[in-house]
């Protein structure tokens, strides 16, 4: 964890730019998807006990689970999917949003998705759980933001 914090830029715009640069180096769509799938392999595993109905983000075709906790004043996300491409995209979202301040999560949209040509994964069809997952991440961020504000007032 500490390793990640020292080696990875924490600025959300910089992380997104880095992802876009990674993808721009890939020659064609097969390379792009291979890279996405590889990202999924590197995703911090979500323990089986968290793969519950309650933590499931509803999507028609693939299962997506998302859990969130407040660590200090930052949000710790963990997520998984049974489909490889969605899992890879989740892994990218984790690089961007995991361990960020709630305010950052709420104000910085995942612009990189469009820039790497994956915007169709966000379309509002019932085929897709990814848009719902981003929404769920924001709902968690909103809840934690309120909690932090209440703590500050107390």
């Amino acid at each position: 964890m500490s390793n990640k914090e020292t080696n990875t830029p924490n600025d959300i715009d910089e992380i997104q730019d880095r992802i876009v640069r990674e993808f721009s180096a890939l020659s064609d769509w097969t390379e792009k998807y291979k890279h996405i799938i590889k990202q999924g392999d590197q995703l911090e595993p979500l323990e089986e006990e968290h793969k519950t109905e309650e933590n499931m983000v509803k999507g028609c075709q693939s299962n997506v689970w998302l859990v969130a906790d407040l660590e200090g004043n930052k949000v710790k996300f963990k997520a998984d999917s049974d489909a490889a491409i969605v899992k890879g995209l989740i892994s990218l979202l984790m690089r961007v949003y995991d361990r960020q301040h709630p305010e950052t999560i709420l104000t910085k949209p995942p612009k990189f998705i469009e820039k790497i040509g994956m915007q169709e994964h966000l379309s509002a069809t019932r085929a897709n759980g990814l848009a719902a997952m981003i929404k769920q991440m924001k709902i968690y961020a909103m809840a934690f933001k309120t909690k932090l504000e209440q703590q500050a007032e107390a």
Binding site: Y33, Q61, A83, I85
Partner: protein, 418 residues
């Protein structure tokens, strides 16, 4: 009447199926830089130019409300709309136009029967028989009336090949059985059920049968009198017609017994605040202004199919399905779900290590449209213990090139995953 090249086909004994593709303008496009291969016909098929032209002609020259006006345009619209009903009657060989009701689709048709028999036919403690291979459209409407009608739902299991377990079906009948609701062709597996036999068994117990024909009508010739079913439901958009319109065929004795589940204009005889009497069949069930253009479009779709001939379509598609089955079976790691000897159109498949969602996404990148998911048939997915399948479903405009492209596409998906 719009004349197109298929009009001349009727006289030809052989049909050139490679030419048929040109009748469907939507197929002539690129998706993600590749010529579109459309294999999602069980979800919705494409419309031929003749159907599009007929709908356009109605909008440009004939539109008016039906059944009420004395003016010429209303007469024209009514004639065209009722003429389409006649074409459908002929298409399924219903004894009378009175027994051919317009609905918004298969789903509404089944809901109409479920509601219409509640309070008129079902009695507390009655049972209905459905099957494990039903589309949700033939499950949920019955669950919605279950409490109000006081009925129980019994389920015919399916075998490993994806066929109805006939022995189990026979054993489900008892003195409380009040209806059988079964699909003619499974949307998730492609199995063609032996409907005549199923109906005959039910009738021996004096039980009426509703058949969900949504997946059957585009692929084979339907004769509701030979089948002898009491209800037959289907949708226009799965048989080269537009969305928003479908048909409920019902035997007159049953339709007379049913109450309409929606009320309004068009369906009444006399209205006072004390009492309303209903119009005659079929209008009793057709409250409100109908989707007139869609009805006329359905008529044009029927005409299109009849000009080619359902027997020729069945034979062509059956040959293509055999080819597709052999080709897919040759792909290592691929497993076809639904291996009944009598199948129509559907190739549902899974890999143990690649999720259907990933297959669908990566095929789309190559311009190949298949459906992935549970196909609104979750009990089937549970039976095979898979979360989802990929489904390629064929239509009369598909050909061996489409299958070859699908196979190449799947090989590419496998390559990405290695």
């Amino acid at each position: 009447m719009i004349k197109t090249n298929e009009q001349s086909r009727r006289s030809n004994t052989s049909v050139d199926f490679s030419e048929i593709r040109n009748d469907f303008p939507v197929l002539n496009q690129q998706v993600n830089g590749n010529p579109l291969v459309y294999l999602d016909n069980a979800a919705s098929s494409q419309m031929p130019q003749s159907v599009i032209d007929r709908i356009n002609a109605y909008h440009s020259k004939e539109h008016s409300n039906v059944h009420r006006g004395v003016h010429s345009l209303s007469q024209k619209a009514t004639d065209a709309y009722e003429d389409a009903r006649g074409k459908v009657r002929d298409f399924i060989n219903a004894p009378s136009k009175k027994e051919v009701l317009y609905t918004s689709g298969t789903t509404e048709a089944i809901n109409m029967v479920a509601r219409g028999l509640t309070g008129t036919h079902f009695q507390e403690g009655d049972q209905i028989i459905l099957s494990e291979m039903e589309h949700h459209a033939n499950i949920v409407p019955w669950q919605l009336i279950r409490e109000q009608a006081g009925i129980d739902i019994k389920v015919v299991p399916i075998t490993d090949r994806g066929e109805l377990d006939l022995d189990a079906y026979k054993e489900l009948f008892n003195s409380k059985t009040a209806l059988v609701g079964l699909t003619h062709v499974s949307n998730a597996l492609g199995t063609i059920n032996p409907v005549e036999e199923l109906v005959e068994i039910a009738h021996r117990h004096n039980v009426p049968v509703l058949l969900d024909g949504a997946q059957a009508v585009p692929h084979e010739s339907i004769d509701v009198q030979t089948i002898d079913c009491d209800f037959y439901a289907f949708s226009a958009h799965k048989m080269y017609g537009p969305t928003g319109i479908g048909i409920l065929y019902g035997k007159e004795e049953w339709l007379d017994k049913m109450t309409p589940y929606k009320g309004g204009g068009e369906m009444i005889d006399k209205v006072t605040f004390e009492e309303t009497t209903y119009d005659e069949l079929p209008h009793k069930f057709e409250a409100g202004t109908p989707p007139i253009a869609a009805g006329i479009g359905l008529g044009a779709a029927v005409e299109y199919l009849q000009n080619i001939g359902m027997k020729k379509i069945s034979a062509y598609e059956s040959d293509l399905l055999d080819y597709g089955t052999k080709k897919l079976e040759s792909i290592e790691g691929l497993r076809i779900l639904g291996t009944a000897p009598n199948k129509a159109s559907v190739l549902s498949f899974v890999f143990d290590d690649i999720h259907a969602h990933d297959i669908g996404t990566l095929l789309n990148e190559q311009g190949i449209a298949v459906r992935t998911g549970h196909h609104c048939a979750q009990p089937v997915m549970r039976k095979y213990d898979v979360p989802a399948t990929s489904r390629a479903s064929l239509a009369l405009y598909n050909n061996r090139d489409d299958i070859d492209r699908l196979v190449e596409g799947i090989e590419k998906v496998k390559e990405i995953f290695t």
